[in-house]
Symmetry: C2
Subunit: 198 residues, 2 copies
């Protein structure tokens, strides 16, 4: 089974090293990890005149179409929510019926992070469910926006969060490994089901 | 044609009023606007014991499946990027082959917003392409993450941004109207193509 490795590690200065570690974990479980930056290693610019960013988009899209599953790294990135590129990819994979798994290396709920990011003030007319901009904060006790959290539940495995945040939230792959292990079990079941139906 | 109205206005204290205005604009162009909170107005809790957030997720997913197109409101929300719920939905609609349009009421590029949100310091070892957390800032001159921007280009119409930000970035529907107008023209073309192929 091929697994698309979605996550903000593409933005790490040592992105390729982290991608390599993810692919090694996948290989240990009999999975083939597809890491976005592999397109840069082996690819050519393709269509003449296409911008670099469009070429990356097309490479990622082709990888997603090729994959059977996605493991989305959803640790909040540059704000209270997950990396938007990863979130887009989760939506894409969910809609294509791929197996969806994901993890976050932070434990706290979305509403806790917003309260920290934008304190509730009396300017809000005394309402305590509004953020600094006057937007209602969804309060479902979930780790992120409900579309992300329930997509994982409905199209794969519920989001996995740590007992306590690891020392390096961007590079710790303990929960990534749990996702890979779970996906492998889905693959085995699919193979068994296919064999039984013959 | 039915159009799914994705955007952070569901978090406005006057969410339903803004949704109503969007639906009126759609109706003027002969489109049927599907607004997420309509599920709350007319729906029942459905499956017994399902949590409210899961019920909202399923309602939104059913609306997306019913729609022919999406207009995604992508004004940066609680950080440098668009609302993650909206981004998830854009990915979902793109993967289902629906017509995708979207707008942002801010003009500046993604990299400009990150520089403001997390200043570049000498702690980054003098690198100027890293944010406060040490992540590389993608510098393609785009208004948001490249997956979002190119998805609109590839699966519909490029993102529409204003000449200057309107007074009320959360409620101004000038660019929403442009998206609705463009979608209507796609519908007309589709009808013409169908007629020609008969």
């Amino acid at each position: 089974m091929k697994v698309y490795l979605a996550g903000p590690e593409v933005f790490l200065p040592d992105a390729k090293a982290t991608g390599h570690r993810k692919k090694e974990i996948c290989a240990r479980f009999g999975l083939i990890g597809l890491f976005p930056l592999d397109n840069e290693i082996s690819g050519t610019m393709g269509e003449r005149g296409a911008s670099v960013s469009r070429w990356i988009f097309r490479g990622n899209t082709a990888m997603m179409e090729d994959a059977d599953a996605v493991i989305a790294h959803l640790t909040p990135f540059r704000g209270p929510s997950a990396d938007p590129g990863t979130v887009y990819e989760l939506g894409f994979m969910a809609a294509r019926g791929k197996i969806c798994a994901g993890y976050s290396n932070r434990r706290c709920s979305y509403i806790d992070r917003i309260a920290r990011a934008a304190s509730v003030t009396p300017d809000n007319g005394g309402r305590t469910d509004l953020d600094r901009e006057g937007h209602v904060i969804e309060n479902f006790g979930l780790p992120d926006n409900l579309m992300i959290i329930h997509a994982l539940e409905e199209f794969g495995h519920p989001i996995i969060v740590p007992e306590a945040a690891p020392a390096d939230i961007w590079r710790d792959l303990t929960l990534f490994e749990k996702c890979a292990e779970w996906i492998t079990r889905q693959g085995s079941r699919a193979v068994t089901a296919n064999a039984a139906s013959r």
